[in-house]
């Protein structure tokens, strides 16, 4: 009742509200514009970029023109935040290609060269690694007893074997089903990607992933400017904002141009085999057809496109 009385005492004309609103909006805008250049408001962006960021569409709904402008904004943002000139491109999936990966666990010696190459290639924050090399007792397959922090003088260590894990690019990905805003999806070449600008950071996908393959940016990614890889793409290795989830994307910025993923290129033992599952002459197809391959947690029905095999 009291509240109503208060309302009754105030002038009820639409005009009044409109005037107050416009006055405040004008004041705010004027302050913003006047401080933009001087104090780097809007996170160091121009007012136009800040507005465009706010109204940025989902990757799949962007027109070509919008995408072009978005890529330009991403490049400017990296310049502002890290002082680095990056090139951000859009790399659509190739026709007639579905990527698959296989690792020879007889060949993997636990050097972790793949982990480091991945971190450098994909502009990973200091506290995130897409690949974890698990150390297991020979003859054991209990992932709960695996050690990912092993520190030996030399590897391979006596009585141990090594099992690298990363995103399995499931064909039936539970993370995609869990995402409430469709910020993550499976592309036509089988790679599960994330639109970092659409992600709301709820981390449901992390809970849904049975392979612990997704990682959350708790802080703004800690990236020294001299370590930033300037060749980036939208769905891949561009610098990520704080509060979003990221994951291995089979180096879309490389593989969609015909290159090998960084982890495969770095592997000194040749344990990693990558290729097009639809090409009957590819190396990955030879492995799948001629080796005793297995997948992790196959019983969950996630249908990973990531196989393991051994020489024995």
């Amino acid at each position: 009742m009291k509240r109503r009385q208060k309302t009754e005492n105030m002038p009820e004309t639409i005009d009044h509200y409109r005037r107050t609103f416009l006055k405040r909006l004008g004041l705010t805008t004027a302050t913003a514009v006047s401080t933009t250049s001087a104090h780097g408001a809007w996170g160091g962006k121009t007012l136009g970029d800040a507005f465009a960021d706010f109204f940025q569409q989902h990757y799949q709904r962007m027109t070509t023109e919008e995408l072009k402008q978005t890529l330009g904004r991403i490049e400017r943002k990296a310049q502002n935040q890290y002082g680095v000139n990056i090139t951000c491109t859009d790399t659509p999936p190739l026709e007639g290609v579905v990527f698959g990966y296989a690792i020879n666990i007889s060949k993997c010696k636990g050097y972790r060269d793949c982990v480091e190459a991945c971190a450098t290639e994909n502009n990973l924050s200091a506290d995130i690694r897409y690949i974890h090399v698990l150390e297991l007792d020979k003859g054991s397959m209990n992932l709960e007893l695996a050690d990912r922090y092993y520190e030996h003088e030399t590897v391979p260590f006596e009585g141990k074997y090594y099992l690298p894990i990363q995103c399995m690019q499931c064909d039936n990905p539970p993370c995609v089903k869990a995402c409430p805003v469709e910020a993550t999806w499976k592309e036509s070449d089988g790679i599960v990607v994330v639109d970092y600008d659409w992600c709301i950071g709820c981390r449901y996908c992390m809970a849904a992933c049975p392979y612990s393959a997704r990682f959350f940016n708790w802080t703004r990614p800690q990236l020294p400017a001299e370590r930033i890889n300037p060749n980036t793409n939208y769905l891949g290795n561009r610098p990520r904002p704080v509060g979003v989830v990221e994951k291995c994307h089979f180096c879309t910025q490389r593989t969609r141009k015909g290159l090998q993923p960084a982890c495969q290129e770095a592997c000194p033992t040749g344990a990693r085999i990558f290729g097009n599952l639809l090409d009957p002459n590819s190396e990955i197809r030879y492995v799948l057809e001629n080796k005793a391959v297995f997948r992790l947690k196959e019983e969950l029905g996630t249908d990973p496109k990531f196989w393991y095999f051994s020489d024995r």
Partner: protein, 188 residues
């Protein structure tokens, strides 16, 4: 014809030097004709500067198996003492190798000799299940030959120091595992 094709591939991929094949008939197409085509990255140039023939003149090789005492510093830790130099090297012309089928081949074709014993591995290597591909995943398949990863005299690779373990987020500790569940069952 194959030599011509190889030349084309070599020209088409600048950046990675490709081995010259001495005898195109020995490139393995006769071994596994259905295997996807490959080109081997050129070996290191050591043999250009330290050719065996600089010391060994033609025809003066003693074919008697023995342990060498001169400056061949290599110990052969391969094959359980069954091998000696001329098992693989060509005694008449030491700048070349000789297969068990008595074919004269260049050093970059050593895989034809390796396959005499390691036939399974050799087949995998032809088809891409073993070895390392250094070009992209599509187009030309440029791969490393056996001896570009394995020293043929001591083929096992030495253990080495791994890269650092993954970081742990500030404020957290490394995940500890409880011991395997071998303790007694729960009792009320």
């Amino acid at each position: 014809m194959l030599r011509f094709l190889l030349a084309i591939v070599a020209v088409a991929t600048p950046g990675i030097p490709v081995a010259e094949e001495a005898d195109p008939d020995l490139t393995g197409t006769q071994l596994y004709p259905e295997a996807p085509r490959f080109v081997i990255r050129a070996g290191n140039n050591k043999t250009k500067f330290y050719k065996c023939s600089r010391c060994h003149e033609e025809g003066d090789t003693d074919p008697e198996p023995r342990r060498l005492k001169t400056r061949h510093t290599r110990e052969i830790d391969h094959g359980g003492n069954r091998f000696w130099c001329l098992t693989c090297h060509d005694g008449d012309d030491l700048d070349f190798l000789r297969t068990s089928r008595n074919e004269k081949i260049v050093f970059d074709q050593a895989y034809l000799i390796c396959g005499s014993c390691h036939a399974d591995r050799q087949k995998d290597w032809y088809f891409g299940g073993h070895g390392k591909r250094i070009s992209g995943w599509q187009d030309e398949r440029i791969i490393l030959a056996c001896t570009q990863c394995h020293d043929p005299h001591t083929p096992a690779r030495e253990p080495r120091k791994p890269q650092p373990p993954p970081p742990v987020r500030t404020g957290l500790e490394r995940q500890q595992h409880h011991p395997p569940a071998t303790s007694r069952a729960w009792e009320p």
